[in-house]
Amino acid sequence: MKNSEDLKALLDELESGIDKCKKKKIEEKMLIASRLDDIRKSRGLSTKREFSNFFNKRPSEIQKWLGGKHNFTIDTLIEIAEKLSIDYKEFLFEKGIYTRLQNNMNCTVYMSIPIQLNQPIMGEKYSTSFPNMQILTKTRSIKDKLQLELKQ
C-alpha cells in the first residue's frame, strides 16, 4: 500500500502547491467548455461540424471553445448565449444549478469560502447575487468550505 500512499502524497503536494489563481483559471475554463458541450449535446448538435454551422464559425474555432483552454471574453460568452437563447451565466455554473436558481427552486450551492476551524459560521453575513433568493442554512462541509442552501 505504501506506493499508493506515496502517489496520493505526491498528488496532494502538487494540488496544494499550485497558485490558487492559476488553478481557478484552469478549472473555470474547463467548466465553461463542459457547459457549452452539455448544451451542444442537449440541442442535438452531435458533431463539431453541426455546431460550427450553427454558429457560422470554423470547426477550428469550435475546437478552441470546447477544448477547455480557451480564455473566453464576456463579449464572446454573451454572443454565444444569445445565439443559444440562454443567459450567459449558465456557462458559469455546473449543469442544472443556474436553471434551478432561476426557477427559484431550492438549491444547494457549494461556495469556496475558506473558513477557519473553531470559528462560528452561523450568524455571519453572506449574500447571494440571485434576486429573491435567501440563504436558508449554512453548514460546514468537508475541506473547510461553507455549504449554503438557497431558497426563495
Binding site: L7, G17, I26, L31, A33, D37, K95
Partner: protein, 157 residues
C-alpha cells in the same frame, strides 16, 4: 500483456474515474514514475497537469478536451495531456470514454521534434499504451474486465 489498474481520482457527478497502469514487474504506476522523475525540474507544469486531470474527474474526459485525439492508432483512444502552453511535458493516456480515463507515462517532448515517434522515450511510453489499450479492449470483449458504474472491474487473477 500483464498490468494492473489502480484508481487515482474519483469521478464527480458527471466526471471521469481516473486510473493509472502498473506494468508487470513494477512496483509503481507509469504515471507515478512520470511524476517522480519530473518533479525536480518541471513541478509547475506537473501542478497544471494535475489540476487538468482533476478537472477531467469533475467534468468528464470530454472528447474535445483532447486536442490530439489519436496519438496512437485510430480508435485506440490514446491522447496526450499537457499544460496550457504545451511547454515541455507530455503525459499519455487512454481515453476509454467520457467517464473513464487511464493514465500512462510520459516524458519531455524535445523542441526539435514534431511527433512522439521521433523520441525514443516517448515512443516507449506510447507503444506500451497502444499494447495496453489493445489488451484492455480484448479483455473487455471477453468479459474478464468489465465496466460497472463507470468503474473498471478487473477480474483477472
Amino acid at each position: 500483456m500483464d498490468f494492473k489498474f489502480i484508481h487515482v481520482k474519483e469521478a464527480g457527478k458527471n466526471g471521469a474515474n481516473i486510473y493509472a497502469i502498473v506494468p508487470k514487474g513494477q512496483t509503481i504506476s507509469s504515471f507515478q514514475a512520470f511524476l517522480q522523475k519530473h518533479v525536480p525540474t518541471y513541478i509547475e507544469e506537473l501542478r497544471e497537469i494535475n489540476t487538468t486531470i482533476s478537472s477531467y474527474a469533475k467534468y468528464g474526459a470530454r472528447e474535445y478536451f483532447f486536442q490530439k485525439k489519436h496519438e496512437g492508432k485510430h480508435g485506440d483512444g490514446i491522447c496526450a495531456i499537457f499544460d496550457e502552453k504545451e511547454t515541455h511535458l507530455r503525459l499519455y493516456c487512454i481515453r476509454h470514454s467520457e467517464n473513464i480515463l487511464i493514465l500512462g507515462g510520459g516524458g519531455v517532448k524535445p523542441k526539435n521534434i514534431r511527433a512522439w515517434q521521433e523520441c525514443p522515450i516517448l515512443s516507449k511510453e506510447v507503444n506500451f499504451l497502444i499494447k495496453v489499450a489493445k489488451d484492455f479492449r480484448k479483455q473487455l470483449k471477453k468479459g474478464i474486465i468489465v465496466i460497472e458504474d463507470n468503474k473498471i472491474i478487473d477480474n483477472r487473477k
